[in-house]
Assembly symmetry: C2
Homo-oligomer: 696 residues x 2
């Protein structure tokens, strides 16, 4: 399933910014709840369970956010972190080389000394939440222009983050909830010394590959383990999750603590139609072109395939997931339901003059902002969100160019990501030793430059300057081969040299970033003032209207912040067949054989040879009704005792519409079962030490 | 390389109709020459070779057109036809089933009695050519409106074809050359009883798959053999090609006789820019979405993969080839050259008042027609060219609906393809017993209906009617599962029932075709009157201007009519390396190993086990400078004695720009060598009888 990072990439690049606000009457086990707003009454009534504050705090402090995208949890007192293999894959890819392919072969550190330090992984634990809505809103003077409002809001947010960072040393982010309805300060303990402990072969972690992705029944050991270190030693954890002996039973209530990436459930109809008719189709075209390009690159040689593997996985994953979302929006049943909800809310608002006066214009304001966006969305996505320059090296060049300029401004005025408080995380990425492969970067850049020409034409003045008289392919090769940014030392040198150094640099990628930056900033400013700020204000009204009409007690759309979801283990009916909630280890082999044991259905040698070491009846994967989405990957699934019973790794195909609506008729979250994890570690991988450490 | 059919599909669907007219001074071995206009002087001067009329007639009558797309030749007195495996693949796919996969396994009929009758293959031999330009032009009154001119031209063409068909019993087509500069009557002997004799495994025919497609060096046995029958017996051939004992040597002059599909070399700049900026990018998006869709479908099961194999090959092939063409148009060097040529021609025209008066407006007229096209191209491609309804079953439904209506009109007024003369060929396709797989048809239709919604929006009145309140997926399933057209008898019944039968049919696909047809016809009429006819007239002026300024002695753009190309066997330089013109059978194994012998680089068992049976030094594939393009696949390559020295199967990556410009610096045509064909048949496949029959 979608890792948040990829999700964010597709979303951000194509300006499919999903702004919406939750005030639905929740259905079934719907809800991605804030940890400080858990629906205790509902849980008590429906399931007879009352989580205490201590229970919630323990679960929260045992939960981990992977900034590469995804979720995880602490599962031992010695800093052991469990997540999905596909969440760890980014780190595995970066630790791999032509000689050692950790994705393909897997990894197991028998002793702590053998654990491999990751290149640029940052893990966050949410240690403190504070509502700062009043403070943020007080900074915006009533009646300000959108530009002034945006600037004032940016200033107060940057300042709060900076003060809190100074005061506590913690990563401090002001997060926007209810799309502008509330602002909360989230403070994180940060781990940057993260080491790889164990990963199975990708052949079993992602068994069935793209064809099985988002399908059920499944047979995947989509799990891997890291360990966080402090001062060169395994970190001692006060909070970590115990391991359930039995795992969850049918119908047992389970909880999911993780970081759903992004939903758009409460978008206005105009906004959903914008996504359906413009934004998502374009996103799909870009994803497909990248998939085809990366597939072609991969097929040229085995080493090419290795280099592009994680990129390709991410693209295919997004393509499948976004397509499911788009199909949902193209389903008249879904749209009728959304339309009925909006009409009933608007009718209720219109019925009360005070509500109508305060909130009645909000829907048209959202629609208006989208009309503005339509005028410049293409250039925005190409130049500012980087769709035209699909290479990490351009990202690095632009970060250097922007950092030099932003550093000359007061902290309060700086762009997102360039504030003092965000500096450490920015540098963590900028100076990453992750390997980059020139041929792959050229292929990616050439394809995206060709797209730029297709979308704006070669005679567009800035496009002509970008190409400098060359074809997209020639230009891409010249830029990548001519640049020295592949060398991390060169990046440090340029960063140190400040704005003068940037201005005088003859690195062709720095030159490109300098060339594009003014137009990028102009487009971003326009976006902030004509789209982002008006939508924030409009959606705040929609939210207030919903609260007024439908009552509060609801959850905000997903924003890659920590949430609690819940629901029982439960099968479903599909095309007249009852799909049981469980699969078993033994079924893995039958599933391989049914697909000729070829390609993505080829099991790793260890699994073929070790078949007798496994109990065929051990539960392998299972489904529950918890409300999850991309970004939840790696979330622990726990029982009432907060013991691990599984780990989320996917949603089924019916769940793909949950960007827009939750349903529990057929939609399910898919997990690896805790028993399968322990048993395979111990009996198949010879990782008894690790198996014994789980939950201890 | 591209088969004409796929090429035509992509082109036609997206209205990238390439109208252009040749009057360039030819470069190197440039030229796809008409058999009645072979540049004898040039051949004599440059190569000291003078083909006689008998030589040309013999070669022409030994050449075959595959109406499924591609070229071939007669290579024995008993009607043996040689073509590429990838040209025969359509027939192989249609003869395959879940139990017998001829693409995968190959086929060899040891005796004539074992030869397999193809489902719907039609082969044509060009027996007569006549220039009817004067007659066609005389029918169009000067000063007529575009609509009247188009109707008059259609009437005279339909009438000539009908008369000639009646008179001779031959398939009689009036072909448009020089995009309206000339009209020739082409008469074909037709073979419809065509039987499969031999095909190797696709694993060696298309060794290296999509990654190696359009690359060089290559190692492919891209060949297969059919036999034409008359009255239930192998046809006795007066004309067939002898087999060369040695094959061609380095630098030896060779000839290619085949059917290049479509080029756009002499398009105006406005037309090239239209292709670059609108038509080709959209074509690419559609090809990529179909590639991804078919890949996903294929990966679900081995049987799915088998069902979609030939479709997927065609799409990938087009995608790679069109991308190469687009990259050429995005190359400023290419466009500068094209612009300079156009400017120089227009300057020469402007310098002479009589030329300026007669032809000076032509370029603006082409540009004007494209401005019209921009307004309705999307709907045209979706509704009339069928891009919204990507299933053969819709094609069948629409043919039935149109046939019923066209049959009520006088022959002279009927649409292309629905005239009396074309009836046999139309029915050959309509009543084809080619297997259709509901799940595959649903997947294809669902994806194209989703594209329809994306492009026009679900609220477009006709789109809403097409979907009938369902999502694209539901609607596609309902249409395919509800239709009886998969049964050929049902098609015959409906055809027999005429317009009344069509009107009262409750078949949902007939209903859909009825629903869409009026709008389709409207769009087609608009296309004919605002684009096709004006371009035909304008390009006729451009052609005349070229003749006036640059002299005649040139060749028309490719139109899937028989052409002669030539050039020596010759290597080339690439990135500082000298690429030799030959590969050898032994190199095949090294090439497999370099790619891990995996996936598309996995050799068939027979090749792995039979390695010792082959001489490592036998030439396998080779390149020459002949001017070819998609549609030439399967063309015989012959020496001065008109003996087979090879068979064209591809062009290298540098040749992909040859839709727009010919070059012989690096661009090369790629062939299988005659020696490799005979040796592998005899020594590896145990097909001694067939090997001995070659050329006899």
């Amino acid at each position: 399933m979608t890792r948040w990072f990829q999700h964010a990439t597709a979303r951000t690049f194509f300006a499919a910014l999903a702004l919406g606000l939750s005030a639905n009457a929740v259905r079934g086990d719907e809800g991605m709840w804030l940890f400080n707003r858990v629906p205790k009454e509902l849980l008590k009534t429906k399931y007879g369970f009352e989580p205490t504050d201590q229970w919630l705090e323990h679960l929260r402090l045992s939960s981990v956010r992977f900034n590469s995208g995804g979720s995880g949890s602490f599962v031992s007192s010695r800093g052991l972190v469990m997540t999905n293999h596909h969440v760890g894959a980014d780190a595995l890819q970066k630790l791999s080389s032509a000689e050692r392919d950790l994705l393909e072969e897997g990894f197991h550190a028998k002793r702590e000394a053998d654990e491999l330090k990751c290149v640029d992984l940052e893990l966050n634990v949410l240690v403190h939440i504070e509502d700062v809505t009043a403070k943020v809103n007080a900074a915006v003077k009533p009646g300000s222009s959108a530009a002034d409002a945006f600037a004032a809001r940016r200033a107060v947010i940057n300042t709060i983050e900076e003060e809190q960072h100074q005061k506590t040393g913690l990563r401090s982010d002001v997060v926007t909830l209810y799309q502008g309805g509330e602002y909360h300060l989230y403070q994180f303990k940060k781990y940057t010394d993260v080491r790889l402990v164990f990963a199975p072969e990708q052949g079993i972690a992602f068994f069935g590959g793209d064809p099985d992705n988002f399908e059920y029944p499944r047979y995947c050991l989509d799990v891997c383990f890291f360990r966080v270190y402090e001062d060169g030693k395994p970190a001692k954890m006060e909070h970590f999750l115990k391991w359930s002996e039995a795992g969850a039973a049918d119908d047992e209530l389970t909880f999911v603590s993780g970081h759903p990436g992004s939903t758009s459930r409460l978008n206005t109809m105009a906004h959903l139609e914008y996504l359906r008719d413009l934004s998502l189709p374009q996103t799909m075209d870009v994803l497909r072109r990248r998939e085809v390009m990366l597939t072609n690159f991969s097929e040229r040689s085995l080493e090419n395939a290795r280099q592009a593997k994680d990129d390709l996985f991410g693209i295919q994953n997004s393509r499948k997931s976004e397509l499911g979302g788009l199909a949902g929006l193209q389903d008249p049943v879904v749209m009728r339901q959304k339309r009925a909800e909006e009409e009933s809310l608007r009718k209720a608002v219109a019925a009360k003059p005070d509500l109508q006066k305060k909130y009645g214009t909000a829907w048209d304001e959202v629609a208006g902002s989208l009309e503005h966006l339509k005028e410049f969305r293409r250039e925005l996505s190409l130049f500012e969100f980087g769709a035209a320059f699909n290479t990490s090296l351009f990202g690095i060049a632009r970060t250097l160019v922007r950092m030099a300029e932003e550093d000359t401004k007061p902290n309060a005025e700086r762009l997102d990501g360039y504030t003092t408080a965000a500096r450490e995380s920015l540098e963590q990425g900028l100076y990453s030793e992750a390997p980059l492969y020139p041929d792959l970067e050229i292929a990616k850049l050439a394809d995206s430059l060709a797209m730029l020409v297709e979308h704006l034409g070669p005679d567009h003045p800035l496009v002509a300057k970008v190409l400098a008289g060359q074809s997209p392919r020639e230009r891409a090769a010249a830029l990548i081969r001519g640049s020295r940014l592949i060398d991390v030392e060169e990046r440090r040198k340029l960063a140190k040299a400040g704005q003068k150094g940037i201005e005088s640099s003859d690195d062709p990628l720095i030159g490109l970033a300098r060339l594009v930056d003014p137009r990028g900033r102009e487009l971003r400013k326009r976006y902030e003032e004509q789209v982002e700020e008006p939508q924030r204000q409009a959606y705040a009204k929609v939210a207030a209207a919903r609260f007024a009409v439908l009552g509060s007690g609801t959850y905000p759309d997903a924003t890659f912040t920590l949430r609690l979801a819940f629901g029982p283990v439960k099968g479903y009916e599909e095309a007249g067949n009852q799909i049981p909630p469980w699969t078993q280890l033994g079924g893995t082999y039958a599933h391989a054989e049914a697909h000729g044991s070829e390609g993505q259905f080829q099991l790793p040698k260890r699994w073929l040879e070790g078949r007798d070491k496994l109990k065929a009846s051990t539960p392998f994967n299972f489904v529950n009704t918890a409300d999850i989405i991309g970004g939840n990957s790696g979330s622990p699934v726990v029982n009432r005792q907060a013991e691990v019973v599984g780990i989320i790794f996917d949603g089924n195909i019916q769940s793909l519409v949950s960007d827009y609506v939750y349903s529990d008729t057929q939609a399910r979250a898919v997990s690896v079962h805790s028993s399968a994890i322990r048993e395979t570690l111990r009996d198949l991988y010879g990782a008894k030490g690790l198996a014994d450490e789980l939950g201890q």
